[in-house]
């Protein structure tokens, strides 16, 4: 509209200098309120809007951060436990450690197994193969699921233990970092004592009570080291129980044909 007939800068200037008529504030407020009502909003300052943004996102952001932390920690713990479980040796209870449910279940299971074994022996039947896992008894089942590991895992752990016994190079003591985690204890529950812990195992059995040699023989056989076994045979001999000692010695020879017997037993 640059046509001089349609626009005059002097008039524009004069018009701009006219008193600025404006609507009264109450009219302004009524109109603004109507506009807010129409869209269902409340009056908000810029600061309040920023605050509401922050408060709106505070909870979701906090939750997201918490989830990230928990997931990360869980993954780290799992990563840390996996190799420990795979490499962990059998549990080595310290003398000061109170007997757990699993610990108490071991002698009972041994007793049951020994009784069965002794009866079978009386019937002149060959003993069960060493590699076979002990059959769980009613008492074992009553001792709780935690004390009875699934058979395949028991077997594999038992075999692993036997391998460790038979290979002296594998008897390196476990480092403190390799201590079994509580969750692994349930899997390590069957009588699979570590080679170095044989004396502890023996003392624990003694603490439970003096038991006949036949009872001592079968269940711990799987885990008993040759040295412990020989020691037990000597103990039987010293107690004058020659028949039991001879039976144990025969069994020992059958299990460890390559083991060089000490002079007092080799005769």
């Amino acid at each position: 509209m640059s046509d001089p007939d349609l626009r005059d800068p002097r008039l524009d200037q004069a018009y701009r200098e006219l008193p600025g008529d404006e609507p009264p504030p109450e009219v302004d407020e009524r109109i603004r309120a109507a506009a807010r009502r129409a869209v269902g909003a409340r009056p908000q300052s810029l600061e309040a809007r920023e605050r509401s943004w922050a408060s709106r996102w505070r909870v979701p952001l906090s939750l997201a951060a918490s989830v990230v932390v928990v997931v990360t920690l869980t993954m780290m713990v799992q990563e840390e436990q996996r190799p420990r479980f795979e490499e962990a040796p059998a549990r080595v209870p310290t003398p000061s450690t109170p007997a757990t449910l699993e610990d108490r279940a071991v002698p009972r299971a041994a007793e049951e197994a020994n009784r069965t074994d002794a009866e079978q022996r009386r019937a002149v039947k060959p003993p069960a193969p060493a590699s076979s896992a002990p059959v769980p008894t009613e008492r074992q089942r009553a001792a709780g699921d935690a004390a009875i590991a699934p058979p395949p895992q028991v077997e594999s752990l038992g075999r692993r233990e036997q391998r460790l016994e038979e290979s002296p190079g594998a008897r390196a003591p476990a480092s403190p970092m390799m201590a079994p985690a509580p969750a692994e204890k349930a899997l390590a529950a069957p009588p699979a004592a570590a080679p170095g812990a044989a004396s502890d195992s023996l003392s624990r059995e003694r603490a439970v009570g003096e038991r006949p040699a036949r009872e001592m023989r079968s269940a711990p056989q799987v885990a008993r080291s040759p040295e412990d076994w020989i020691e037990e045979i000597r103990r039987l001999k010293s107690q004058g129980r020659d028949a039991d000692a001879a039976a144990e010695l025969a069994e020992f020879r059958r299990r460890h044909p390559d083991y060089a017997l000490p002079a007092d037993l080799a005769r």
Partner: protein, 187 residues
């Protein structure tokens, strides 16, 4: 020209439910629309009622808003229609009031003690000249000044063709020059 979001963007935002967009839009155009109505209706009280109605109509019509033209064209179309309704309802009275609008009353509404007497006189003289224009010519001039509308937009708002709008505006300019600038009328 206002910086930030355009009028059209603000109106779309308000249509989408953002009340603050309306506040920005209203702040930009409240003065122009009010003066357009005030100088057409003649009475401050009538102008306030009309002004409120115009904005309430805009609020009600927000759902159907489409930025096919400038927002100001749409806004002043609403204002024009509301003014025409007012004139139709009070045909004679409105015209009389319109014609009889005393210049002194307008000046008395907004006293400025610091203004010089000459400026006051100039303002009163210009307002008197505007007031003396025929309604259609006055409207064309006010739309040009308050709405910054083009010839085509003035034609669209007032519902006439471009040549009619042009003719109205040209006659308004000739009369204002003659009254305010003391130039001889040339048509």
């Amino acid at each position: 020209m206002a910086s930030g979001p355009s009028d059209e963007e603000l109106m779309l935002a308000y249509r989408a439910g953002e009340a603050s967009a309306f506040d920005a839009l209203y702040a930009r155009h409240r003065g122009g629309v009010f003066r357009y109505l005030r100088r057409q209706a003649g009475s401050a009280a009538v102008a306030e009622d009309l002004f409120q109605d115009v904005w309430l109509r805009l609020i009600d019509a927000r759902g159907s808003y489409e930025p096919r033209a400038r927002f100001t064209t749409w806004l002043f179309t609403i204002a024009h229609n509301r003014l025409m309704d007012h004139f139709r309802a009070r045909a004679r009275a409105a015209l009389v009031s319109y014609d009889d609008h005393p210049i002194d009353d307008v000046a008395a509404d907004t006293p400025r003690p610091d203004e010089s007497l000459a400026r006051k006189q100039d303002a009163a003289q210009l307002l008197g000249a505007i007031d003396a224009l025929p309604a259609a010519q006055r409207e064309a001039f006010l739309l040009q000044q308050e709405g910054e509308l083009s010839l085509e937009e003035i034609a669209a708002v007032t519902g006439v063709n471009r040549e009619t709008a042009k003719s109205r505006l040209r006659y308004a300019m000739v009369k204002l020059r003659a009254e305010f600038l003391r130039e001889p009328e040339r048509t």
